[in-house]
């Protein structure tokens, strides 16, 4: 159940054009090169992994210092606050520049994922990893981040190739739902869920 949620969240990130597959397709189209698209995807996934793993490590480290209840309450508050900010703010991620080296592309992905709060949604899962042993929580968190990113990578790869080879980008005009707004609502929901669960 928990693992399924982790994988589904990864797929959700993978399918979101803003989180990287669209940039990979754009890089491929610009040079008329599928190789360039394929090169870009692992780098984008790496940036995403770094962003999610950072959250996992922070949770693991915090969990070794505070009680499980405090950790869950903190996570719930962070989620609700971040979700509300994403929901109400009209600001969006800004980045100037289309000609990026692979290193810069990884940095872009890290920042994009972080600004999006990609790792935060894993908080309800991460805070429930038994904190009995410090190393266990850390490696458990990284495992969650890895599975999540793998799901994101596979989904993004399938979508990117399908769009590049067959579908074309015209599909964006109708199919690009405002996932950011859905995401913001989901963050608030996950935060409330975490808080309620803790209070219960």
């Amino acid at each position: 159940m928990t693992l399924t949620a982790v994988i589904l969240l990864g797929a959700f990130h993978g399918i979101n054009p803003a989180m990287g597959w669209l940039f990979a397709v754009a890089r491929g189209l610009q040079e008329r090169s599928r190789d360039r698209l394929l090169q870009s995807l692992p780098v984008i996934a790496l940036g995403h992994l770094a962003s999610v793993a950072l959250v996992a490590l922070v949770v693991g480290a915090t969990g070794s210092l505070v009680t499980g209840t405090a950790l869950s309450i903190g996570a719930g508050v962070v989620l609700v606050a971040f979700g509300l900010w994403r929901l109400l703010s009209t600001r969006h991620f800004r980045w100037v520049g289309m000609r990026l080296s692979l290193g810069q592309l990884a940095a872009w992905s890290f920042l994009m994922s972080s600004a999006h709060g990609a790792g935060l949604m894993l908080l309800p899962v991460l805070t429930r990893i038994p904190a009995g042993h410090h190393g266990h929580a850390m490696s458990g968190g990284l495992f969650v981040a890895g599975i999540h990113t793998l799901a994101m990578f596979v989904t993004a790869g399938v979508v990117a190739l399908a769009v590049y080879e067959f579908a074309g980008l015209t599909v964006l005009r109708r199919a690009w739902f405002n996932l950011d707004r859905m995401w913001a609502v989901a963050l608030v929901g996950a935060g409330v869920f975490t808080l309620v669960q803790t209070a219960w």
Partner: protein, 464 residues
């Protein structure tokens, strides 16, 4: 301002190929100004739907709240660049027109959604533009990666340098000066970019003191107006290279880069060559890591008897073409060139940008020609084709006749009049049903046109 949408704004297109399939515009917005500065300038709204009984007439009108703005160019708050993958925000709406007053230095924001006559939602005072960005006389507006970019001819409290100011694209507040390092650039006018290559290109007209009271003969013959192109790093905001076209080529105005984001060429129009009063079009292009420019179109002056000429041209015995605007179709195949002096609209096939082929010409107005519009065949027209706008599908070309208040008066001293015309590009003839003129513009002079949903000079695309 504005809530976000659930799906992308339908006027955003990933690629120029997609944009060519856009539906035809039903409305056109035209900036119109009162030369005497006694009445407010206005946004006039034209019906461009041929099925509509009001086709070709002014159906909307919004007076500005002040006088003396001299509206000139304007642009949309958002465009297809919102789909770019580096910072996508496709769920904003294209609904606000950003309208600078070239003389007043005020910038107005007008809402067009759900209404015919635009409604004022914000005024940016000259002090805000000046104190935050250091500029005055705002001119060209483009929506791009960092928000709204607005070029400006003058400095704040100083004549120059002119440059580019950045505006936040949601609050419309002035963020600041765009340039981190302006290098050799001092004069400003137009700008646009090769968005996928992180390159911005800018052109040169003159500082406010050089243009506001009319064309200054000594400055022109002294070759003091702009004659350079500037290339910038769009990301680092740094000047990278200048290209001097030669100081005989006075006033490098409109810039039209290829819409195809894989390409690195574009067209620049030069108003006049002081040696023979000809006009020219240049192509800039990248060779290795450097930019180069090459003259690809030469339009000669037309001889005329001095008594037919305004004072400023009498000594020359010729009418200069005065190329004051050019526009490139979204498919990058056709370049339209307005010759405001001779009263001619030309079309070139620029499929090979280095070897343009002239494929059409119509005459209307002109300093000597005074050619009529077929809808009013006995009316001698002043002014010439000036601002050009091409529909996204490339089928319709709109032109207006005023250049700039004080310059209108020099070249058309008996009155420049007011008219707007439409050319159907397939036949390259005037649409006889579309000719708003004279009192339709209520004594104001029409300048730039923006088409509902976007046009050939409004959007940049990140996908080929």
């Amino acid at each position: 301002m504005g809530m976000s949408l659930w799906t992308p704004d339908p006027t955003f297109y990933p690629s120029p190929r997609d944009a060519v399939a856009a539906p035809r515009e039903k409305l056109a917005y035209v900036a119109a100004f009162d030369r005497s500065a006694e009445r407010p300038d206005a946004l006039a709204v034209l019906d461009t739907d041929p099925e509509s009984p009001a086709y070709g007439t002014v159906v909307g009108w919004t007076d500005l709240p002040y006088t003396g703005d001299e509206l000139h160019h304007f642009g949309w708050n958002a465009c297809s660049s919102a789909l770019c993958p580096s910072a996508p925000h496709p769920h904003v709406e294209r609904r606000y027109l950003i309208v600078p007053g070239l003389r007043s230095s005020r910038i107005y924001v007008y809402d067009t959604k759900g209404r015919v006559s635009p409604e004022l939602v914000k005024v940016i005072e000259p002090e805000e533009l000046g104190k935050r960005a250091g500029y005055s006389r705002p001119h060209t507006v483009h929506c791009g990666p960092e928000g709204l970019y607005v070029s400006a001819l003058g400095g704040f409290g100083e004549d120059g340098p002119g440059g580019i100011a950045l505006l936040d694209h949601t609050s419309f507040e002035v963020v600041g000066r765009w340039e981190a390092d302006r290098g050799s650039q001092h004069l400003a006018y137009d700008f646009w970019w090769h968005i996928n290559h992180d390159v911005l290109v800018s052109s040169e007209w003159g500082t406010p003191s050089m243009v506001e009271d009319g064309l200054v003969g000594e400055l022109l013959l002294g070759r003091k107006y702009g004659h350079r192109l500037h290339f910038w790093d769009l990301r680092k905001r740094r000047h990278v290279q200048e290209i001097d076209l030669g100081d005989q080529h006075q006033m490098v105005l409109e810039l039209r880069p290829a819409h195809d984001p894989t390409k690195t060429y574009g067209f620049a129009g030069v108003v006049t060559n002081v040696e023979d009063l000809s006009a020219s079009i240049w192509v800039w292009h990248r060779e290795g890591s450097r930019w180069e420019a090459r003259k690809v179109i030469h339009i000669p002056a037309e001889p005329a008897a001095p008594e037919e000429l305004p004072d400023i041209l009498k000594p020359f015995g010729a009418v200069p073409p005065l190329v004051t605007d050019i526009d490139l179709s979204v498919d990058d195949r056709h370049l339209y060139v307005s010759c405001w002096g001779t009263g001619e609209l030309k079309r070139y096939d620029v499929s090979d940008p280095f070897a343009p082929v002239e494929t059409g010409s119509v005459r209307i107005g002109g300093i000597v020609g005074r050619a009529p519009h077929p809808a009013a065949p006995y009316e001698r027209l002043a002014g010439g084709p000036q601002m050009i706008e091409v529909s996204r599908d490339g089928r319709r070309v709109y032109v207006t006749n005023s250049l700039y208040g004080s310059w209108d008066d020099q070249f058309y001293p008996d009155g420049v009049g007011a008219w707007m015309a439409k050319v159907d590009s397939e036949t390259f003839t005037f649409d006889e049903r579309f000719f708003p003129h004279g009192d339709d513009f209520r004594g104001l002079r029409p300048h730039q046109t923006r088409l509902q949903g976007g046009d050939a000079s409004s959007d940049s695309y990140c996908y080929p």
